[in-house]
């Protein structure tokens, strides 16, 4: 299959305007997936309350097809890391992530899940869940409003709709070297061992223009 499709998205949109519905398996597949993202019922801290609020009547995440919070990771597509991940909790989060079937996605909700947030100086706080599992969407805020979570979910849906079924830029879950299982850290004498997964956590060096 060539990289440049014969019929582009613009063509398709134009045809749709003319009343001809043309679609591809890819589009139908992604449409179906993106509109029934089942999150894992998994709350960690303060943001979890806003996540629950998002699933309640006022914000109603059901309008996005994501109201089915699954208690079991085996039935979930989306891990919303909602709150501070402590070092004591990190192995469990990675284990849950490993148990989720591909294709799976991860939203880091709130400052703590992204980087440790306000608690980042704490000795038991993991400075960002992306040290151990790949994160698709980051929602900053402390905590983000439920609307912000919905916005993050829409961003995720957008990302899912843009995914290719074939070709070199297929999503993570279709890449041949995708590790379905990520290494679970273990409790050490002073810290987690390892403290990060270097395969997915490659931060840039902190730089300051004048003082390198």
């Amino acid at each position: 299959m060539s990289d440049t499709p014969v019929i582009t998205r613009q063509d398709r949109d134009e045809l749709r305007r003319q009343g001809i519905l043309l679609t591809s398996i890819e589009e139908v597949y992604n449409w179906g997936r993106s509109r029934s993202v089942w999150p894992l019922q998994f709350g960690l801290a303060c943001c979890a309350i806003e996540m629950i609020a998002a699933s309640m009547a006022r914000f109603d995440i059901a309008r996005f097809g994501s109201e089915v919070f699954r208690p079991s990771p085996r039935q979930a597509d989306l891990l919303i890391v909602s709150g501070t991940v402590t070092k004591k909790m990190a192995p469990q989060v990675v284990r849950l992530w490993n148990q989720m079937p591909e294709p799976k996605y991860c939203i880091a909700m709130g400052a703590c899940a992204i980087s440790g947030g306000p608690f980042k100086q704490g000795y038991n706080v993991l400075k960002g869940i992306d040290r151990f599992i790949p994160v698709d969407i980051y929602i900053p805020g402390c905590p983000p409003r439920p609307e912000a979570l919905l916005h993050g979910l829409m961003e995720l849906q957008k990302k899912m709709r843009g995914e290719k079924l074939t070709g070199p830029d297929v999503p993570r879950n279709k890449q041949p070297d995708n590790p379905c299982e990520y290494p679970v850290p273990e409790f050490g004498a002073h810290d987690l061992e390892p403290a990060k997964n270097p395969d997915i956590w490659q931060p840039p060096a902190p730089v300051r223009p004048d003082k390198p």
Binding site: K120, N124, F187, D191, L192, A195, K196, P206, K211
Partner: protein
């Protein structure tokens, strides 16, 4: 309700061998406390709980405090040597002494029956390394059960006769006592976008620790910019 002084006097009368010291709180709250000696602490606690006047049946808060060893340079300004007949002179005398460190357990006691309180009692360990045992007050007040476990976890005070003394907040394999003042945090620093001075220092230290060979020369220079 009795003042801490009255309680102290009564305790001293009741427990002749015990040492009970009043620790004066200079702050605005005026919550003075009683320092008990560990040997008699359990008996005194039972007395405080059952005494009909005090009836301190409720231990609200139990916590640890770390007082590390510190060098105190005392400038005793008030030393007033009186030259014979002359006006008193104020001379500054500097005395250096090392105050030994200790760990402290503080209990805030109230009476639910009489709705009075607080009576604050403190226990101190011998030092911060090997004499860290204190009698557990969990048999007296069940409320101390988890709080003493927490003190054990975070401060390293070993409570003898505690029914279930394990780490509570950190994992069992953990070795340190993180709430102590001299606790060194693990180096899990990789990246932080705000380039504060301490951030850069830590980044440098982390890079040095992560890759000792190539970054070995730079740590020689002072990291503080």
């Amino acid at each position: 309700m009795e003042t801490p002084e009255q309680i102290r006097d009564r305790l001293l009368a009741r427990f002749p061998g015990a040492t009970v010291t009043l620790v004066v709180n200079p702050g605005a709250s005026g919550q003075h406390s009683l320092l008990l000696d560990p040997a008699n602490a359990r008996a005194i606690a039972v007395f405080l709980r059952d005494d009909p006047v005090l009836r301190l049946d409720y231990c609200s808060n139990a916590t640890g405090v770390d007082w590390p060893e510190k060098e105190i340079v005392e400038t005793t300004k008030v030393s007033v040597p009186d030259p014979a007949g002359g006006a008193p002179k104020i001379v500054e005398q500097k005395t250096k002494r090392i105050q030994p460190g200790y760990l402290e357990a503080v209990y805030h006691l109230y009476s639910m029956a009489l709705k009075t309180g607080p009576v604050i009692i403190r226990l101190r360990t011998g030092n911060r390394t090997d004499q860290v045992a204190l009698p557990s007050l969990t048999p007296v007040w069940r409320a101390c059960e988890f709080q003493e476990r927490e003190i054990f976890d975070l401060y390293g005070i070993v409570f003898t006769d505690h029914p279930d003394l394990r780490r509570i907040l950190m994992w069992d394999e953990f070795k340190d006592h993180p709430m102590r003042k001299d606790y060194v945090e693990p180096d899990d620093y990789e990246w932080e976008p705000t380039a504060h001075d301490e951030v850069l220092v830590r980044a440098k230290a982390h890079a040095a620790a992560a890759a000792p060979a190539p970054v070995a020369p730079p740590p020689a220079e002072a990291p503080q910019p």
